[in-house]
């Protein structure tokens, strides 16, 4: 056997190291891919999104808006941002005017932004997708999550079309649209004048309850080095989807006191691993004196890519979802499909660490519903104090995927504390450490989420009702171990 020259081997390794991309979360808030864990136009909420290109490069970006049941597309379009440009849009409730759906609860995408978004109706577009899976009610569009993916860096003519000069108020969107027209440059070759994505996108989200005067603001989850090296995924607005299944097959994962670089056989598992949550923590404040409310919203942006059957969710999902875990006879999963949900085991702690767990069935805890079973691509969990009828509460989000969970009833329990969920009945993903060659298991469920918090002060001033709201991303962590 011919032996490789050691110097050449070393050089090849170095080149490999330079060319290989490994997905990781960027706590500094920028990346090629942004995941907005939740949008809602229910309960009087409007969702405002601002995507910022923090670089001096022109960018081609795909925006995917997906609903929360099965992550089916609600709206997908391209937007082209010049250097330091931003893109703002709103999702608001609307009664659709689509024939046959009059009166149903719809969603409207609005924008007054001057950036180029070919084929996107201005100022607004009613969203009326034909859903593949039941329930097919249009109501599903009212909440979900949003993917923002950089398709590439623009060069040459398209970059020039987006770069503003002094005195120029808006980009040359016609030039961009012409490239997608029949026989246009991108119609023939979508990669022309497009280089691989380079990152530097950030996004902020505001859920605004106009009537109540509350703004729940939070940032997107940013993923960096997402795409394989030297690959451009640039498609037309109505062309092939560009989504989370286009990522690299390696990921940097937090492990104990450092990072571990794992390579996965299935590229989808790299992004799954980065988003993996084995346990989730959320603090709650339900103080009666200020009518405190806390709602935890979880979304599973990669779950749909793990579906085994193209035609139905009833046949279950690939790992980390457990196809052998049958929820068909349990809880809210029963109505729609049977396999590959999972259960959130919870432990509830009040502020003084008084603990109750579902598994031990603390005797003082009021009867609970079954542990939260996550059947869909998202769920809303509203925490309530013992003895408070849920019918009196409602939810902040107005989500039809809501479930209520009662906090600790131990003597002297405080009305605030935190809940820790652990994802149960899941299967591990297996990756190979690129340093050692050892196989490692990553446990959990890939998810993002946000905690909404609201208080009411009835005594802010004479005749004034003051409402305070806030939001924060969930805290979660995967569990990694060597393959036994």
């Amino acid at each position: 056997m011919k032996r490789m020259n050691p110097t050449f081997f070393g050089f090849a390794l170095l080149m490999w190291a330079q060319l290989t991309m490994a997905i990781h979360r960027n706590p500094q808030g920028t990346g090629e891919v942004l995941l907005i864990p939740y949008y809602s136009a229910s309960n009087g909420l409007n969702t405002l999104v601002e995507v910022v290109n923090t670089t001096d490069q022109g960018k081609a970006i795909k925006i995917n808006i997906k609903e929360l049941y099965f992550a089916e597309p609600v709206l997908s379009y391209n937007v082209y941002l010049g250097p330091h440009d931003s893109w703002s849009f709103a999702l608001v409730p609307d009664s659709t005017v689509v024939a046959g759906l009059d009166g149903d609860e719809g969603l409207r995408h609005l924008t007054a932004d001057g950036s180029c978004a070919p084929a996107l109706a201005r100022p607004g577009v009613d969203m009326s997708p034909e859903f593949q899976f039941e329930p097919t009610t249009l109501r599903r569009v009212r909440e979900g999550f949003i993917e923002v993916l950089e398709m590439g860096v623009l060069t040459g003519a398209p970059a020039a079309a987006l770069s503003l000069t002094d005195g120029q108020d808006s980009p040359d969107c016609q030039a961009i649209e012409e490239r997608w027209a029949d026989g246009g440059i991108w119609d023939m070759d979508a990669t022309a004048d497009v280089l691989p994505a380079s990152g530097g996108l950030s996004a902020d989200v505001s859920l605004i309850d106009v009537v109540q005067g509350i703004n729940y603001g939070f940032a997107a989850v940013a993923l960096k080095d997402f795409f394989p090296a030297d690959v451009v995924h640039h498609t037309a607005a109505d062309g092939l989807p560009v989504s989370l299944d286009k990522g690299a097959d390696e990921a940097w994962l937090f492990y104990q006191n450092g990072y571990k670089n794992l390579r996965f056989a299935q590229a989808m598992d790299a992004v799954n691993a980065v988003l993996m949550a084995h346990d989730i923590e959320a603090s709650y404040s339900l103080d009666s004196i200020v009518d405190g409310r806390t709602e935890v919203i979880l979304s599973l942006p990669t779950k749909d890519f793990m579906r085994i059957s193209e035609t139905s969710p009833r046949f279950g999902y690939h790992p980390p979802f457990n196809v052998d875990f049958d929820l068909s006879s349990q809880g809210n999963c029963r109505q729609y499909f049977s396999k590959s949900g999972f259960v959130l085991d919870d432990v509830m702690f009040d502020r003084e660490a008084q603990e109750e767990t579902v598994s031990t069935g603390g005797v003082m805890r009021p009867p609970q519903p079954p542990p939260p079973q996550i059947c869909f691509s998202g769920v809303s969990i509203t925490l309530v104090l013992p003895g408070v009828p849920t019918s009196d509460l409602g939810t902040i989000s107005g989500s039809p995927l809501s479930m209520y969970y009662t906090t600790t009833a131990l003597p002297h329990a405080t009305e605030n504390g935190f809940i820790r969920f652990q994802n149960r009945q899941t299967l591990p993903l297996t990756g190979v450490d690129t340093n050692s060659g050892e196989s490692w298991q990553v446990w959990g469920i890939p998810m993002t989420g946000v905690v909404l918090q609201r208080f009411t002060n009835a005594y802010a001033g004479p005749g004034l009702l003051a409402q305070y709201g806030g939001a924060r991303l969930i805290k979660s962590r995967s569990f990694i171990e060597p393959v036994p």
Binding site: L14, H24, Q28, G29, E50, G217, A219, G258, L464, Q467
Partner: protein
């Protein structure tokens, strides 16, 4: 060393054991609140959660805005999955030198043990304010450090946290002061008794609550993981405020510019600074008058004081840190430039004296970021408010748009620190690591008013946002002349 051998060595050995890093999940051994304030009748509510089964000894340091000096410091001992809540509120000082001045008070309704530190409203201390600006304005805002000192183990754990909490805290504080107290070094005690290594898992949230205006600004604390060296604990006495960010292990994982890279630094403060360092910060602004929109950004430089010496400052700060940018009594400052981008991406503040169609601009005068904690205020030149109306900060800088003839109401701002020096470190293979910028944490505040809301409803919308930071890193390959540093 032959580069190929070095490469193979690195592949075999893999990552190093423990290095400070910015947590991606908000949990860690150290938490930093980028901002607290009691100005403008704001109350600061802080919630610290122990997300682990370990019993924790935790140091809380509250530091004022100019010199970063401690104004309140104490230990708190958290049971498994325990939560510690405290508030900072305004009140009138009873210090002999400041009687009647508005100052800040600490209070807590929480039952967790804070030896010798009262839960009742406690005025911030001025004892550490040995130089700089007089007056109490400097301590009405600042930043907060939360440092895990270690885990409480052995019999102490059961003694401190029995089933019945009654009387426990009184017993615990006696350990520090009583004759032969186990944590009383002055009488044979040892602060490391029954203290195990720090294990992390702390998280923190902050709410700035504007009670009168009905607004809550909620934001997470910045979490640093793997702060202590492996197996290390740093349990100090309840009255020892010296434990700070310089206690970090001198290694760091750096993210944000490229794939995570592990570096070896000269000191603990360098490791933390490298993790927090930003060449640029960015934030969206909205100052539309129709909804009375306002945007402010609170910034803290939590390691700044470690770089100060009698002759100036060490890198990454400029050694001749500009005194004309800020008064000496505010510990000087760092110049920064900024660009405003309207939503189209148009840059509307350019570092030149001319612009197409808008006439001659006045010379650019770079402002200075003074002291340790300050607030940037986005404002129209014609607004002329001249104050930080959200935070009420006393250490604020106006970012106005005077050079522009048609200023935007919405967009984003990029701030670049000027005249900073590179922070130097090395990789495991001795490659040189250089990073530019300042070690900074921050939070963006936004406020709107809806004058058309329902009768009797106070419709003010406030929110806080993550500060976007960007790194500027160079890794220079090993120079044979400096193979070993």
């Amino acid at each position: 060393m032959n580069r190929l051998l070095l490469l193979i060595f690195l592949i075999i050995t893999g990552p190093m054991a423990q290095a400070v890093m910015l947590s991606t999940d908000g949990r860690g051994q150290v938490l930093i609140s980028p901002y607290y304030t009691v100005n403008n009748d704001l109350n600061t509510l802080v919630t610290i959660t122990n997300n682990t089964i370990d019993v924790k000894a935790v140091k809380i340091n509250i530091r004022e805005s100019l010199g970063g000096y401690v104004v309140a410091s104490y230990n708190v001992y958290l049971a498994s999955y325990d939560v510690w809540v405290f508030g900072l509120i305004p009140g009138l000082s009873e210090h002999p030198d400041h009687t009647g001045e508005v100052t800040a008070f600490h209070l807590s309704p929480d039952a967790s043990c804070t030896p010798w530190f009262p839960k009742s409203p406690t005025e911030f201390s001025t004892a550490e304010l040995v130089d700089g600006e007089p007056g109490l304005a400097r301590l009405r805002e600042g930043f907060i450090e939360v440092i895990e000192m270690g885990t409480v183990t052995g019999q102490s754990m059961f003694n401190v946290f029995p089933d019945n909490n009654t009387g426990v805290c009184q017993d615990l504080q006696q350990w520090f002061t009583a004759d032969q107290g186990q944590w009383n070094p002055d009488d044979g005690g040892d602060l490391s008794t029954d203290i195990g290594p720090a294990t992390g898992g702390l998280s923190g949230e902050v709410n700035l609550i504007d009670v009168g205006d009905g607004i809550s600004y909620s934001y997470p604390m910045t979490a640093l993981d793997a702060f202590h060296a492996p197996g290390d604990s740093r349990h100090v006495s309840y009255d020892d405020a010296s434990l700070s960010l310089d206690a970090a292990a001198p290694q760091a994982w750096i993210t944000g510019a490229q794939a995570p890279v592990e570096i070896i630094t000269d000191s603990g403060e360098d490791a933390v600074s490298a993790v927090l360092q930003a060449a640029q910060i960015r934030f969206s602004f909205d100052i539309a008058t129709i909804v009375a929109a306002e945007t402010e950004v609170a910034l803290s430089l939590p390691t700044r004081r470690f770089y100060r010496y009698s002759g100036g400052y060490r890198a990454p700060f400029n050694p001749t840190i500009r005194t004309n940018a800020c008064p000496f009594t505010r510990y000087s400052g760092t110049y920064f430039g900024y660009e405003l981008y309207e939503r189209t991406g148009h840059s509307v503040t350019l570092p030149s004296n001319s612009c197409g169609g808008c006439g001659t601009r006045p010379p650019i005068v770079y402002p200075g970021l003074c002291g340790t904690t300050g607030v940037l205020v986005a404002e129209h030149n014609f607004g002329q408010i001249g104050m930080a109306s959200i935070t009420g900060s006393d250490n604020f800088i106006i970012l106005n748009d005077y050079p522009y003839s048609n200023p935007p109401f919405e967009g984003h701002i990029s701030v670049s620190f000027r005249d900073v020096l590179p922070l130097q470190a090395r990789l495991a293979n001795n490659d040189r690591y250089l990073s530019y910028g300042l070690p900074v944490v921050g939070v963006v505040f936004q406020r709107y008013v809806n004058a058309g809301a329902g009768q009797g409803l106070l419709a003010q919308y406030g929110s806080s946002r993550q500060l976007i930071t960007q790194k500027d890193i160079q890794i220079n390959q090993l120079n044979s002349a400096e193979e070993v540093r």
